[in-house]
């Protein structure tokens, strides 16, 4: 069963200047148990898309189902089946940390006793026990992020929506949170992650969609996305002395799209780093050179993202 399915999903806002399309004809499918990334620059339509999937934005056209339930026709039923971990300011600042969890559980139909017990377990899991009586504004950035995720997990949601889960926190906390999210995913949790931090998407997601200006630009597994838009691995080999400019026909190599020779260093762009590396070492040896240093730089989701979405400033 697919956890999320959208067909030609669109949202148009009315403004004094006329109709402004925020999302146009988005068709997506996220399988149950998948860790899926929704990537795009600011204003690309990510929030509107997630808003529609979480029932807080009404679609203008098209259809969307979450956990097999239509978001337009049965929004209340959808809300029972999702957990939403959004930005920091969505915490209830008038309630303590423990009460934020307890009331989320009670809103979902838990008795006070069950909600408190579950809250305790989550406080334990997310290392928040000592801050149980603190208010949201007294928490550190990392604690806020953990509490937001914990709150979204008060019931076992079929789909967990994560919005920039590690924005603005230190690397230690970030990597710990990533581990926690991977553990959740390993436990079968379907997760939809919205982010514009490409390293995060690359570290966590199995598949991702890149959207911009409300339209889907690409949607595939992360390794496949990495091969898009002509992205190549860059292999750099440094020898012990200057290399001849045509190191054994390197320029005519079928796997090499571009090569730069600079003194003792050869930098080649390729889609098959393994075989090229072997050829470079052999060629060096044949030319009487010794290899001092080898580096391969794989294409990043960031470079793919920038290629697809352009580089002009966003709002």
């Amino acid at each position: 069963m697919s956890a999320i399915r959208t067909v030609e999903l669109s949202k148009t806002y009315s403004s004094p200047e006329g109709k402004v399309p925020a999302v146009e004809g988005l068709t997506l499918e996220v399988a149950s148990g998948e860790f899926f990334g929704l990537l795009g620059p600011n204003g690309a339509g990510k929030s509107t898309t997630v808003g529609m999937l979480t029932t807080l934005v009404r679609p203008s056209a098209g259809r969307a189902e979450v956990a097999g339930i239509d978001v337009s026709h049965r929004p209340v039923q959808v809300r029972r089946n999702i957990g939403v971990a959004s930005q920091a300011d969505s915490l209830d600042r008038k309630l303590s940390v423990a009460d934020n969890l307890e009331f989320r559980g009670r809103f979902l139909g838990m008795t006070r006793r069950v909600a408190r017990r579950r809250a305790e377990a989550l406080l334990e899991t997310f290392s928040l026990v000592e801050r149980r009586n603190a208010r949201a504004h007294e928490l550190s950035g990392g604690q806020v992020k953990r509490l937001i995720i914990a709150r979204a997990l008060m019931h076992r949601p079929q789909v967990l929506f994560l919005d920039e889960p590690t924005a603005g926190i230190d690397p230690q906390t970030r990597h710990n949170l990533w581990d926690a999210l991977r553990a959740l995913h390993a436990d079968g949790q379907t997760i939809l992650l919205t982010t514009h931090h490409m390293d995060e998407a690359e570290a966590l997601c199995q598949r991702a969609a890149i959207i911009d200006n409300g339209r889907l630009l690409a949607c595939d597994t992360v390794p496949t996305l990495l091969t898009l838009a002509g992205a190549k691995t860059i292999v750099t080999v440094t020898y012990d002395r200057s290399v001849p400019s045509d190191l054994e026909g390197l320029r005519g190599h079928p796997d090499v799209s571009r090569v730069d020779v600079n003194g003792s260093q050869v930098k080649a762009h390729t889609h098959d780093a393994e075989s090229l590396l072997g050829d470079l070492i052999t060629a060096g040896v044949n030319a009487g050179l010794r290899v001092r240093h080898v580096m391969t730089l794989r294409p990043s989701l960031e470079s793919v993202f920038l290629t697809l979405t352009g580089r002009e400033y966003r709002e």
Binding site: L56, R80, S90, L91, D92, R118, T125, R146, T173
Partner: protein, 284 residues
């Protein structure tokens, strides 16, 4: 910090009794938990203004000899007797209005706090209705704080003369007065730009409170016919007069049929419209 990696969340005991009424009650429980935490500041906020007004009108002014002019309103009742229903009505109105509008304005503009409750599994219009019920409850609590103060505080020999003619009438007036105030609060919280709260208070709320038949019965306005008619557009006037009819029926007041119609129809219409506006605002 390390996060335990074996996050196990499936718990067979947790069969959720998720239903809209359960969620509605849980949302009310959340508001009452917040109110309980702020009990002291709530009591001061609600109680201080009537205390000062009572002190001024029933103690200071009579003591310095200005009070006699105030009680010359065409009836033999003491000024305290006139004032108690009016003060309770205006306090309840303010309590309900503020209980809903103030947090809502902040939640809709500066923070995204409301999102957690919007995601609660109940229709959004019911969440709006819950805000009205919650505000009305807080208005009732406000009334319960102000009422004893209003009875106790008065000048020597100027005790208010209160007599409940009909408990059901009193209950209906108080109930719909509270619902009216909370509905106005939902409307204000939804449509008013929070940066303009000051304007709302000085242009609308303050004149309405001072001119809502708090310090005199409506009939006493006869010499100012234009003001008497203008006052009929003020919800507080019907609430004050309704309480006057229920608590101090010897003082002239509007006919029961007219204030009951105004309170019931007015609160129902305001509630319906404010819930509609709220739903439109939060679900784009």
């Amino acid at each position: 910090m390390t996060i335990a990696t074996g996050i196990r969340l499936t718990d067979t005991e947790d069969t959720l009794r998720s239903s809209a009424p359960h969620t509605f009650v849980a949302l009310l429980a959340r508001d009452l938990r917040v109110l309980r935490q702020d009990a002291a500041s709530f009591a001061v906020r609600i109680g201080l203004q009537p205390v000062i007004l009572l002190f001024l009108f029933t103690y200071v002014l009579p003591k310095i000899g200005t009070g006699s002019a105030l009680s010359a309103n065409g009836s033999s009742a003491t000024f305290s007797t006139i004032l108690v229903p009016g003060l309770v009505a205006s306090s309840v109105l303010m309590a309900g209005l503020m209980a809903v509008s103030q947090p809502l304005m902040i939640e809709l503009s500066y923070t995204n706090e409301i999102e957690d409750r919007l995601l609660a599994p109940l229709p959004t219009w019911m969440f709006g209705l819950q805000k009205i019920v919650s505000g009305a409850l807080q208005a009732l609590i406000g009334g319960a704080i102000v009422f004893p103060i209003a009875i106790v505080l008065h000048a020597p020999g100027q005790a208010p003369l209160l007599q409940v003619e009909s408990w059901p009438l009193l209950a209906i007036v108080v109930l719909f007065g509270s619902l009216f105030s909370a509905s106005l609060g939902l409307l204000a919280g939804t449509v008013v730009d929070p940066r303009k709260t000051g304007v709302l208070l000085t242009v609308l709320v303050m004149p309405a409170t001072l001119l809502g038949c708090v310090f005199y019965p409506w009939s006493a306005l006869a010499p100012l016919r234009w003001l008497q008619i203008l006052t009929l557009f003020n919800p507080l006037a019907y609430f004050s007069e309704g309480l006057r009819a229920s608590l101090t029926s010897q003082v002239p007041h509007l006919p029961t049929g007219s204030f009951l119609t105004a309170l019931i129809v007015g609160s129902a219409a305001t509630a319906a419209f404010s819930v509609f506006a709220f739903t439109r605002k939060v679900i784009s």
